[in-house]
Point group: C2
Chain length 468, copies 2
């Protein structure tokens, strides 16, 4: 029997090598497509009744559609910093110490700390061509723009599309954006190409840039970070899409984004790069639901409670689809995973050694993607700015603090914490703490252990000019 | 040019005949699979994160998945009466005049009026073998059992699975079901086969009955009405499914129901009847969400507001999938359709002339199913018991009265009505009446016109014995 066991192991190893991510010795390419403020319920494959997303639905059918995928923060800047570093904002520095400083604003004087090794920088060291297309939002002063972080090229805007003259928040009393809004620049590398570009055309222009980059790099390994500025408000679609969706302007924008994803995947297929390119689509946080201010121009969290800026599920669980035909399994996965997992997963696939100088918060989820396992981790941390509000472990989530941005409920402390079973009750409707003191105890211990493990760094989002 | 126009029309006619529902002159078979209290958000293809429904997802991919499909009532009995007659409860008599009489109870002395022509009766006249498997709930006295309405066979229970000794509502103060619950009988035709059958085995037994009926009738046209008593509470799954779902007991039951649907479709494929059998899966109303009473044992309305017993979308918009490979188009359809459409559609396909003696409330949606059109009607009526609460016309819904069963808000009258754009805002979050007085006027006129058109009949659900 021992002889056979050895043979079986050998065959398994050979098969394993064959089902790896590299094709005929070629290094795999990577494309991350990040939507902005797209809600958990806004794609057809995630149950939206009137938004048509045939390209993303097809991507989901050909790959892995995640149903319990999280981001590391409930707003833009910290979520992006975590995605690119594999580390929680509280460790990489992209956090503020109060609710007015949750993202980089146009008067921010800081950016992503240069001590961080971004995905782009790590891949560049392994010979990858690296590019960012779209929204950066990790610092807008020259020294904090993308080319300082390992990106070979940049075509995009430095902050949110509402932070220029068109800033819809400007007229709002008490808005962090003053009516004296700066302009929205469109960068080509380190130069401002245009100011206040026609936002209706941004999706088309960014799509063309991405497909051009694919074509240009078809014989070299590449990493493209395509961070669409939409469906963040103000909503802008090109004439081909404006007014076409049953869902109104929000639907127009999502349907154009879906078209854009289709263009990218089709280009990969056309150039026969599809089997060697790992593509991930996800959102940076929950949808922006602001009653009376943007109403139906915000997205939908689907069955999840709450929205962007909250640590309830609607703020931090996002649609996420991974794709690489022949390698990433066709499956709907309810495994817990986070945007920070992309860092070690991608670096692992590229054969880059993970820098050991800093603690990582992501896990390599290759075995989830190929279907070899259905669980890599079961812990998720839910931060609001610099404070840990909640923790998920297994099926359970304990909220030690909550805020409800849509319902405009301010932060509230809970002792004992509120407890929910997210697998039974994804909508966080039925509080079950009283029935499960042992789970409260377990999650409280994990909560404390994590908080104690965090070594304080400076809060970069607090650094702002007084005026502007 | 005229010559060509004629030729084009001729070709179109030939193609049209070819894409009809009959195969080589054979009459098509029909199977309606009705789930009980399954919510809009409870299938994987409708966005549930932890319930696995691979068979229904496959059915959806091979057929038409509807995203704006409605039932005629927000609770069991009237919804079922409307499905089987193609007529609103207010016309067929299966309604009550107050909220205590919304369904048939075990002490009801009436049933579906015999003057109605059910789908079974109409098809039987055309040589169809007709069967009901599962829950009837249109009268439990002998003269109101299914064989009185055109069904050749009956294997099932006469009312809800909570109305026997296991009645979970029994201990509840003020419950319409007394603690002196009658037994739950399992019928074979007109005879009680068992009392209080093991509910854990019901799905398996009903599935075997349906697949046996298909085999037995493989050479004759048949109509099977498979009305599962689940996921209505009490939740019961067989040992193969109990404890297997991440979603808990509710998930176990839905996953077994999904398995059951798979068995039915596979049997059709095995006997090569799939291309000649029109199958529809739907739910009878929204999920039962009763805080503290059943909590997470109730389902999910997904992104829709409210639940069973409400006239908000969560109470009356249901998952609905139509299937007939080669004929029903592979599509996600956001066309408005209702359960009452099945009556004229199925009779049309079977070549049965629609009885002209009574007004019908359904429309023939054959052209929606084949993809020839994307709109047949755009009006939906939302009744609560005998009162019209709301109307949908196009994208808009006007609520003249509302009740919110989950939030336990009693009925409230609205003048002017509340107005929502369901295509932009399926969750009924953003009231827009003030901005659209002209739409309020249009919907108010349609509301009045409908109410005036209804000829009163007796309220059968009011007829109950005083005690029992």
């Amino acid at each position: 029997m021992k002889k056979y066991t050895f043979l079986v192991l050998l065959i398994a190893q050979v098969l394993n090598a064959k089902t790896g991510f590299s094709q005929a010795g070629k290094q795999p390419n990577f494309i991350i497509i990040l939507a902005d403020d797209l809600g958990y319920g806004d794609l057809s494959s995630y149950g939206h009744p009137t938004i048509r997303t045939p390209n993303l639905d097809k991507m989901a059918l050909e790959g892995t559609r995640f149903t319990q995928f999280y981001v590391a923060a409930n707003v833009c800047s910290p979520s992006r910093a975590a995605l690119l570093t594999g580390r929680l904002p509280i460790r990489n520095g992209v956090f503020g110490t109060n609710s007015a400083n949750k993202v980089f604003f146009t008067n921010s004087t800081s950016g992503l700390p240069h001590r961080e090794t971004t995905l782009a920088k790590a891949l560049k060291g392994k010979g990858y061509q690296t590019a960012i297309v779209g929204k950066w939002h990790l610092g807008s002063l020259p020294q904090f723009l993308p080319l300082n972080y390992g990106f070979d090229s940049y075509f995009g805007i430095p902050y949110s599309n509402d932070m220029g003259k068109e800033g819809f928040m400007a007229p709002r009393p008490g808005s962090p954006v003053t009516s004296n809004n700066p302009v929205l620049p469109l960068y080509r590398n380190e130069k401002v190409l245009e100011t206040e570009p026609d936002q209706n055309l941004l999706t088309k222009r960014f799509t063309a840039e991405v497909t051009d980059l694919i074509t240009k790099n078809k014989n070299k390994p590449f990493f493209i970070y395509y961070a669409s500025p939409f469906p963040h408000v103000p909503l802008h679609a090109s004439p081909d899409f404006a007014g076409k969706s049953k869902r109104g302007p929000y639907g127009d924008v999502v349907e154009e984004l879906d078209w854009s994803v289709g263009q990218v995947l089709n280009k990969l297929k056309e150039l026969k790069l599809d089997k060697n390119t790992f593509v991930v689509f996800l959102s940076d946080n929950g949808p922006w639901l602001m009653k009376s201010l943007i109403d139906e121009n915000g997205g939908s969290s689907g069955l999840l409670y709450e929205a962007k800026a909250s640590t309830y599920e609607g703020g931090m669980r996002v649609p996420a689809i991974a794709w690489m035909p022949g390698t990433v399994k066709n499956q709907i996965s309810s495994a817990v995973a986070t945007s920070m997992d992309l860092y070690p997963t991608i670096l692992g696939l590229a054969g880059v050694e993970i820098p050991k100088d800093k603690p990582l918060d992501g896990n390599n989820i290759k075995d989830l993607l190929t279907g070899k396992t259905d669980k890599v981790t079961d812990i998720v941390y839910f931060y609001d700015a610099n404070q840990l509000y909640a923790i998920r472990k297994g099926a359970y989530k304990a909220h030690f603090q909550t805020n409800a941005s849509y319902s405009q409920k301010p932060a509230e402390t809970h002792n004992p914490p509120l407890l929910y079973n997210l697998e039974h009750d994804p909508s966080e409707k039925f509080e079950i703490g009283k029935k499960h003191p042992e789970i409260i105890a377990e999650l409280t211990a994990a909560f404390k252990k994590h908080v104690e493990s965090v070594v304080p760094v400076e809060a970069e989002l607090d650094k702002r000019e007084a005026k502007k």
